[in-house]
């Protein structure tokens, strides 16, 4: 065991954790909206809209995240037309490509989580709202969405942890996130175990925090108080 290496690499890895957290929070933020959007499309009665939303979530859940990042980072740059539009400003940056890929990926999982949450809401609750003369829109925003969020908290907590692990793939498109820096230190010092313990420890700590925050929220918003 090389404890000196563990101590000297800790600040470097901690610095890289900031990149990981930035990627995670940005993709979760955009992914939540995307997921909500597609969950609503899934509940639409129009079969084409419905199938379109299903196709989106099926494709992004059925393929590895690595393929998705590579298609966006290496693949989209190949289209000449894109290079002339303003989108190129975003797509030439690996940072934004990673965020786009993560957003699309987590959006697909989130849409499934939210859809099943919406479907488990008892129809009686919606009917009660309607019979009180509340408009459809307000029933949706004030009744269905809050209940769906509560229902989907445990599953969404898992998704956050999965996404946090997913951000490690940003290192494959040259980003120096926690895993990227860990790999760099391993390949220069050839001390994989020490670096794994430190980097893995940081990841586990983040998992622990996320897990407990979700647990707290579940308790706070539980129906029986």
């Amino acid at each position: 065991m090389d404890f000196d290496l563990m101590i000297t690499s800790f600040p470097k890895l901690l610095g890289a954790t900031v990149v990981t957290l930035k990627l995670l929070s940005a993709s979760l933020f955009f992914g939540l909206f995307l997921g909500l959007f597609f969950a609503i499309l899934r509940l639409n009665k129009n079969i084409f809209i419905n199938k379109f939303a299903y196709g989106y979530s099926y494709i992004f859940r059925g393929t590895p995240l690595l393929v998705q990042i590579f298609i966006i980072y290496f693949g989209l740059g190949q289209i000449e037309y894109l290079r002339t539009t303003f989108l190129w400003v975003i797509l030439k940056e690996p940072y934004w490509c990673a965020i786009i890929a993560f957003t699309l990926n987590t959006g697909a999982y989130t849409s499934e989580i939210l859809r099943s949450a919406f479907q488990t809401i008892k129809p009686g609750i919606i009917e009660a709202g309607k019979s009180l003369g509340i408009s459809n829109k307000i029933v949706f925003y004030k009744i269905q969405i809050p209940i769906a969020i509560r229902q989907s908290l445990p599953a969404y907590g898992n998704e956050i942890i999965l996404m946090m692990k997913g951000t490690s793939l940003a290192s494959t498109v040259t980003l120096m996130d926690l895993t990227g820096v860990a790999k760099y230190i391993i390949s220069t010092t050839f001390k994989p175990i020490e670096v794994f313990i430190v980097a893995g420890g940081i990841y586990l700590f983040m998992t622990f925090i996320i897990h407990n925050v979700i647990k707290y929220l579940e308790k706070k918003y539980s129906f029986q108080q």
């Binding site: 393929v67 590579f70 951000t167 490690s168 290192s171 994989p192 980097a199 893995g200």
Partner: protein, 230 residues
């Protein structure tokens, strides 16, 4: 389509073999995972706190750390660890482990953590009376598990194991960083030499979709088979 031709002109045959490699790695990893689950599930269900701790440590660490980091640990640390063990037995030559073994071990350990959780859940949801009834009938320990618990457990475990299989299949794409030529690595090579990454990565995505689709269909059949009588 020319790009996908078989033979020397296209990448069809290379991608075909790469797909077989992905399937082979996934199946090996899944089996390695079952092996680990076989060890760690009893630990997690044990009466003894220390054994519980060992079991929980395994599943928590593996499920809380990115797959890629575990793969790097095996990729950079694998041969070192083997050489260390070999040196105890007086063997000092350089040992190189092949990428297939490293990859399927790394993915296997990850898949094992998920399988352990699935088996633990399935065993815990079997009615306690089943264990007691089996004991009362004088069936030996092996028979209890093999004839009574296992068939009931499999029915409950298969839907969740199908999720583990999907995760494992998708995780194999990460082994491409170690240089094992599976779908992702082959697409990377093809994309590099033809300068057509969009096509090859999209094709890789299609191959993965095909694999997940076909395996879902097969697992559904299995599910029906193990739910006979319910």
């Amino acid at each position: 389509m020319e790009l996908l031709a078989f033979g020397k002109t296209g990448w069809g045959d290379e991608l075909f073999y790469a797909t077989l490699m992905t399937i082979a790695v996934s199946i090996t990893a899944m089996l390695v995972g079952f092996f680990f689950a076989l060890i760690f599930t009893p630990l997690k269900l044990s009466k003894y706190k220390t054994l519980n701790l060992v079991g929980n440590f395994y599943t928590t660490v593996i499920r809380g750390v990115p797959e890629l980091l575990v793969i790097y640990l095996f990729f950079f640390g694998g041969s070192g660890a083997i050489m260390y063990v070999a040196s105890i037995f007086g063997y000092y030559e350089y040992i190189e482990i092949n990428a297939f073994v490293t990859g399927s071990m790394a993915i296997g350990i990850i898949s094992g953590a998920y399988s352990t959780e699935v088996f633990r859940g399935a065993i815990q949801s079997i009615d306690k009376g089943q264990f007691e009834a089996a004991k009362v009938l004088g069936i030996n320990k092996f028979g209890q598990f093999y004839k009574i618990i296992l068939p009931q457990m499999l029915r409950l475990a298969i839907p969740n194991l199908s999720n583990v299989w999907q995760i494992t299949l998708k995780d194999t794409s990460l082994i491409s960083v170690t240089g094992l030529v599976e779908i992702m690595r082959q697409s990377y090579i093809a994309a590099g030499s033809t300068r057509d990454p969009l096509f090859f990565y999209s094709f890789a995505a299609v191959l993965y979709l095909l694999l997940t689709y076909v395996s879902m269909k097969l697992i559904n059949k299995l599910e029906v088979r193990y739910s006979r009588g319910y």
